[in-house]
């Protein structure tokens, strides 16, 4: 049911782990699906210089974590806030319909990590409240 691209990324996920001296951490979960995703970010001069993930979840959740962390490295915080799960799914050349909700987690985890960065650094969120489901 997964395409080859998803399987390849799932077989060799990148950016696994946790940045100990991070500048922002987001942990979001969808207990209904059984996926929990944690993304830690290193941010310098408003640019994401490193991103790592740890995921409890299905192959789709792990593949989207890998892709999303890869995508935000090098982005400014504002650019990263605009990353949508649709872009991640597009990069993966599609996911089975029942797996789309697993990909939403990556978007949410990045937003949560940036929110956490704003809180800790005292900077203001770019655009208001976000709907984020914390674990």
């Amino acid at each position: 049911m997964y395409n080859q691209k998803v399987m390849d990324i799932f077989a060799n996920p990148q950016h696994m782990g946790f940045i100990e001296d991070n500048d922002g951490v987001g942990k979001v979960g969808n207990a209904a699906c059984g996926d929990i995703m944690e993304i830690s970010l290193k941010i310098k001069d408003n640019v994401i210089t490193d991103a790592k993930f740890r995921t409890f979840g299905c192959a789709a959740a792990i593949a989207t974590s890998s892709v999303a962390t890869g995508m935000v490295i090098g982005m400014t915080v504002d650019e990263a806030l605009k990353l949508t799960n649709a872009k991640v799914v597009e990069y993966l050349e599609g996911l089975p319909p029942q797996k789309i909700h697993c990909s939403v987690l990556a978007e949410e985890a990045i937003k949560a990590a940036i929110e956490n960065y704003y809180e800790r650094s005292g900077k203001k969120p770019a655009d208001g409240d976000k709907e984020i489901k914390y674990v």
């Binding site: 996920p13 209904a32 409890f56 299905c58």
Partner: protein, 395 residues
Amino acid sequence: MRIYLDNSATTYTDPEVLQAMLPYFTEVYGNGSSQHFFGREALVAIDKAREQVAAAINCRPNEVYFTSGGTESDNWAIKGIARAHSKKGKHIITSKIEHPAVIKTCETLEREGFEVTYLDVDSEGFVDPGAVEAAIRPDTTLISIMTANNEIGTIQPVREIGAIARAHKIVFHTDAVQAIGNVDIDVVRDNIDLLSMSAHKFYGPKGVGVLYKRNGVKAERFMDGGEQERNMRASTLNTPGIVGLGKAIELAVRDREANNARIRELRDAFVAKVNASIPDVKLNGALDFDRRLPGNANYSFKYIEGESILMRLDLAGIAVSSGSACSSGSLEPSYVLLSIGVPIEMAHGSIRFSFGKSNTMQEVDYTVDKLQKTVEFLRELSPLFKNVQGEQRYV
């Protein structure tokens, strides 16, 4: 590497079974209901299969009704009995861990005004016969309890439940889809009034099954149409499938003890190795292996999710199935595991390994090795897991 450890999902068709079936596609293709010799030749083969089934479960040949599989047999048994006895009452007793073919059928009947008691099971998946008896009401017309569970392999005390049903003059149905070939079944000794089976679970072809119904037990017909199967189940008989089912059940019963001993040896070795090499696992289901399907090992792996285990084993050439929500496409993890009290996050991390007669000890060793690496890899990746000075725990 191609290792098949999903024999509870389906089995290959035994070559001997396939050989028996082949002439009935090409040479003996008559309609078993036709009066001419083409039809009569097919009917001879169908009647032989009926006798093979009857001999395997100790019933009469005219108590065997061929169906399209386990699902149809379960639907027919439950709806057919409930509706035929609705003047006496509209209450059914079953368990929380039945196959969806039973549970969903009961839910349909609930929408029609029937009442259903879904009995709890204990932490190993056993139905308590005392609880069955306690649930009986004056309006109870049917008890349906599976012989063996498809996910955790628990074998129910069917004989005791059958005796209780008989004492209270209530019809007793058992879904024996997972049990045929694995469990000794005798419908007379065990007081079974109806029994479902499906050929592809015991090395027969897919799409053919049996409902055994004791003579004298009143049931509605399920498929309307022609007068096949003593006017109880319409549709032209699937001669090749029926011949295959007959051959398969004959072989399954003839070789049951030898197959079980071999399969059990593989499963026991697997369980011993997993327990020894992978920390923080839980074997789900009956702990007394005499009361568990010989090929079943269902494990929960703490801190990690089942579908990702399944898919990484798939990458290693090993086919298993998972009780996680994300592999079933539903939102809930296995209701069977939740019913035996497995915590929800552990239910998400569960895998069913089901061994069959063609598996080997080398496959067991290879699987344990890959499984151990998979679990280690996914735990490293899990935000729920921390290896604190060699001690693993939830964080």
